[in-house]
Amino acid sequence: MNSDIFLRLGLALCIIGLGLFVYWRINQRLLLNAQNNALSLFNTLPNKPVIVYFTTSDYAPCKTIQRPALHQLSGLMGDKLHVIEIDAAQQPELAKQWGVLSVPTTFLLDARGEARYVNNGVARVEKLMEQLQTL
């Protein structure tokens, strides 16, 4: 009985793992898209980490969580961080180019303009800070 439960638990974990792998692959693809489009955002490389933040003006989680988190992060990092906010509703073509299907979505680019992280959904300050520290 117990071994049966463990077998099923293992199988469930494998299936969930497969789902996470697919999710990871999709994120990799989004990063590749971002990589291909990142340079078009700048005339010259900013030589500092960049957060490209896709949002819409009145989506509640963007207004109440994501935007304040980015403001707080900008305050903490000062001129060591560049944040670019893009309204996905105003610029749907750009959102499409970057492969953004929902908001908020944040891309983290390193100082060389290489896309390193993508966060689908709300990303809190701690998480963003952790990601920035690895850039």
Partner: protein, 164 residues
């Protein structure tokens, strides 16, 4: 683009429903409890009949009043979400029947299909049942009259400012 009238849809209710469907079905699989899968099917069936997310009562009576989940109200069409639940109910009922009739692979396969689709909706913001609804609406089938909110990919969670 469309000029249809959208309604306020609280996506937190939908998410609660999806999370319960996912959790209870995984528990049913691990503990080998077809009755639990059948219970999920039953709740989804009752929800479909009442035109409300089956496990939405948990959000309305516990999660929201205690502030454990905040409302996520968007202008959206409720009909595709109802259709999606009906589709889930059909799969869950078929899966439960298959399990009770001894077709375990087919039964749990259908249950996992529902888990996968609910997870895609809860974590990825893409509702496959809604996409099917909008696809059927293109053929002007009776009962499938709604179009996706303007600027929203069929099945994706609407972006708030695009549909007001």
């Amino acid at each position: 683009m469309t000029s249809q009238t959208l309604q306020k849809v609280d996506h937190s209710v939908l998410k609660t429903n999806q999370l319960f469907i996912i959790s209870l079905n995984i528990l049913a699989f691990i503990l080998n409890l077809p009755a639990l899968a059948a219970f999920v099917a039953l709740v989804m069936g009752i929800g479909s009949a009442l035109k409300t997310p089956g496990f939405g009562f948990v959000y309305k009576s516990i999660l929201k009043p205690r502030g454990w989940m905040k409302p996520d109200v968007l202008n959206d069409n409720p009909e595709p979400h109802r259709f999606s639940q009906i589709l889930g109910f059909v799969f869950m009922t078929a899966g439960s029947l298959a399990l009770f009739l001894g077709s375990t692979v087919l039964g749990w396969g259908l249950v996992w299909l529902v888990i996968g689709l609910a997870a895609l909706n809860a974590f990825g913001g893409f509702c496959v049942g809604c996409a099917v609804y909008y696809w059927l609406a293109r053929f002007n089938l009776p009962g499938f009259g709604k179009q996706p909110p303007a600027g929203t990919f069929p099945g994706m969670k609407p972006k708030a400012s695009t549909n007001i």
